[in-house]
Point group: C2
Chain length 363, copies 2
């Protein structure tokens, strides 16, 4: 009888980080594509755009003017999803009424920030100098510390800081000026809570951190490691959903940015630069993605710190070229995520790409 | 002190069907949009397209020719995500090795089908006659019964039939000829399993079906009911994520299509026609969405039948116009889904729209 071939036979893989599954259909990559075409990146963008609300010196949508910043620049989002000041919510539902069962609701307070990565309108992470990426890591760290302090001293309702970047129109980014966001809430968001729950379950069962053991295993196998340095690995997780999904995971336990030393900040910046350079080189386009940091809650308890392990997720949608993406729709929304190439195939392609020289430098 | 205002203050709502949360930020709707514009629907499409691989009489990508079908037409997907014949997978991992913990994998077998809704290339659900939509419901039912029989008599590896439709380029649909899909797997897909798990938990706790009680509550409140007839309600769930997300839910327990009588098939078709007419009328465009049916597994046990309750989910991405959609990215992927208008606001708009006359009939 024939042997099961992971490069050709459909299978589903389990994601222990959030207790979910993904279907892998490696034979499906041959499917023709007649659907929506993404807009590939335009190279002719000016360094300064007078109409951009993120460029230095320009006026923003709601009035204030940006300073003439020269490095990173953080300001409060003009259209925040959550606000600091709003009334508290007290449920008046009868215990165990149907309302109480089905209309479960909490007030959400917090603050939203925009983080400009660079004053230059026309660069993106991989096109920035290593030192300038270190400054982004520094800015994130300072924000984390500042919000911890405000929570402690001014009793601001800050529990979890979600730092992320939406890049490219395919990922809903409405301004190509290099920037990320940070939403700080009075609750731990659902996806983060799911991970903490799994980490906790793993710890109870195996007396070790899930990501500690996972890093050990991936370093031993080497099938899914894209980049490695002293402090981090960049891995295509065994259970990746997005075509070229990756995680940057710290090799030793770092609960949050706060615990990083100088070397670790440098090493994180260098992973980010190399990974995004590889991404751009893959289809010779400014590769869209959503990425974000998962770490300990603000002012974490000893227990919360032990349960946290710094990592970043990159979710890029492109599948086959600068214009053909994977849509996670239909079956994926109703049934289960499905992918066309295996994690190992994705890793192999990313690993072989140049992580030092960006394709636009050749032009 | 001010009272909490659900139409203005940020809150998070709990989804008991899949044990998750969504953040609602009603004040955020004012945000300007400079990002990706969707392509609105083009009205000048011919009834027959010689290059369409779904039109009657045409040749498909892999060779076979479609018959001159005059109503619905089902055929096996030329690029299926799962196949019937492939080797079995037997794990050779040591119990409790790291491999065993992290590389959890199952073989997935099955079959994928395409269901043409109509021979006409240029119609969509709301533009079809009521009787022709009933024929789609009939075709789904026949497929369900046929696959049950093949599983029983020919031992085909069929456990769950996921019927769905991706509509519009924004939802990854690669051909605008009206069609849906049905993927039949040897496993219950993750999202369906999650619902069954919640239903089971609810039953154990309250000795009633979750959707039975939810329908009772929504019919009492009426804040989120878009359409109602003898057999079904169309509701914007309290915990809706997509801007104009809805569910069609049966009023009495119907485990699967198999249990429908003639009246119920008619009533389902009429909900589908009215709902999609309202959707198209909302922004005067062919409204994109992913939709799908959730019901009992094939050849369900008595227990599985008791735990199932027929419903359909509609996930439409458009937010503010024919060209401006909601992107569930960044914070949504890393943290928690976030929406800008409340379920009640969405319901009010859908409820007020004409569900009988399609906007194109006025042109
Ligand atoms: O099968 P299609 O229509 O070519 O493809 C579409 O639907 C599938 C099922 O939801 C998805 O896996 C694909 O990503 C999507 O583009
Ligand atoms: O805040 P932006 O960049 O305008 O908006 C983008 O990112 C947000 C956070 O992920 C999402 O909620 C929006 O749907 C998306 O378009």
């Amino acid at each position: 009888t024939a042997r099961f071939d992971f490069n050709d036979n459909s299978h589903r893989r389990y994601n222990p980080m959030i207790d979910s599954w993904v279907i892998v259909s490696p034979h499906r990559a041959k499917r023709p594509w007649l659907g929506q075409q993404e807009t590939p990146s335009k190279p002719d963008v000016p360094e300064y755009d007078s109409k951009c609300y993120l460029c230095p010196g320009n006026e923003r949508a709601t009035g204030p003017r940006n300073p003439d910043y020269t490095s990173t620049y953080i300001f409060p989002n003009d259209y925040p999803a959550v606000k600091l000041n709003q009334p508290d919510y007290h449920s008046e539902k009868d215990k165990n009424s149907l309302e109480d069962r089905f209309f479960k609701v909490q007030s959400v307070k917090g603050n939203c920030f925009v983080i400009c990565f660079s004053p230059k309108h026309n660069v993106t992470l991989p096109q920035m100098a290593h030192n300038d990426i270190v400054k982004i890591v520094d800015a994130w760290t300072e924000l984390y510390l500042k919000l911890e302090k405000e929570a402690k001293e001014e009793h601001k309702p800050y529990k979890y800081l979600q730092i992320f970047e939406n890049k490219g129109t395919a990922m809903g980014c409405s301004n190509l000026h290099p920037h990320g966001q940070a939403w700080c809430l009075n609750v731990v968001p659902y996806e983060v809570e799911r991970e903490f729950k799994s980490f906790h379950g793993y710890e109870s069962k195996y007396h070790s951190h899930m990501l500690k053991d996972y890093v050990v295993l991936e370093l031993e196998k080497r099938d899914r490691i894209v980049i490695e340095n002293d402090s981090f690995i960049v891995v295509v997780p065994y259970w990746a959903v997005w075509p070229f999904e990756t995680m940057i995971v710290s090799k030793t336990q770092l609960a949050s940015l706060k615990d990083f030393n100088e070397q670790q900040r440098e090493d994180l910046a260098s992973c980010m630069k190399q990974l995004t350079t590889k991404y751009d080189n893959l289809f010779e386009t400014i590769f869209p993605y959503s990425m974000g940091l998962h770490q300990a809650p603000l002012n974490a308890t000893a227990e919360e710190k032990e349960n946290a392990w710094f990592h970043m997720h990159f979710y890029p949608p492109l599948l086959r070229s600068a214009t053909v993406r994977k849509f996670l729709v239909g079956f994926e929304l109703l049934g289960e995520p499905q992918r066309d190439l295996t994690a190992e195939q994705a890793c192999e392609r990313l690993r072989e790409l140049d992580g030092n020289v960006h394709y636009l430098q050749h032009l």
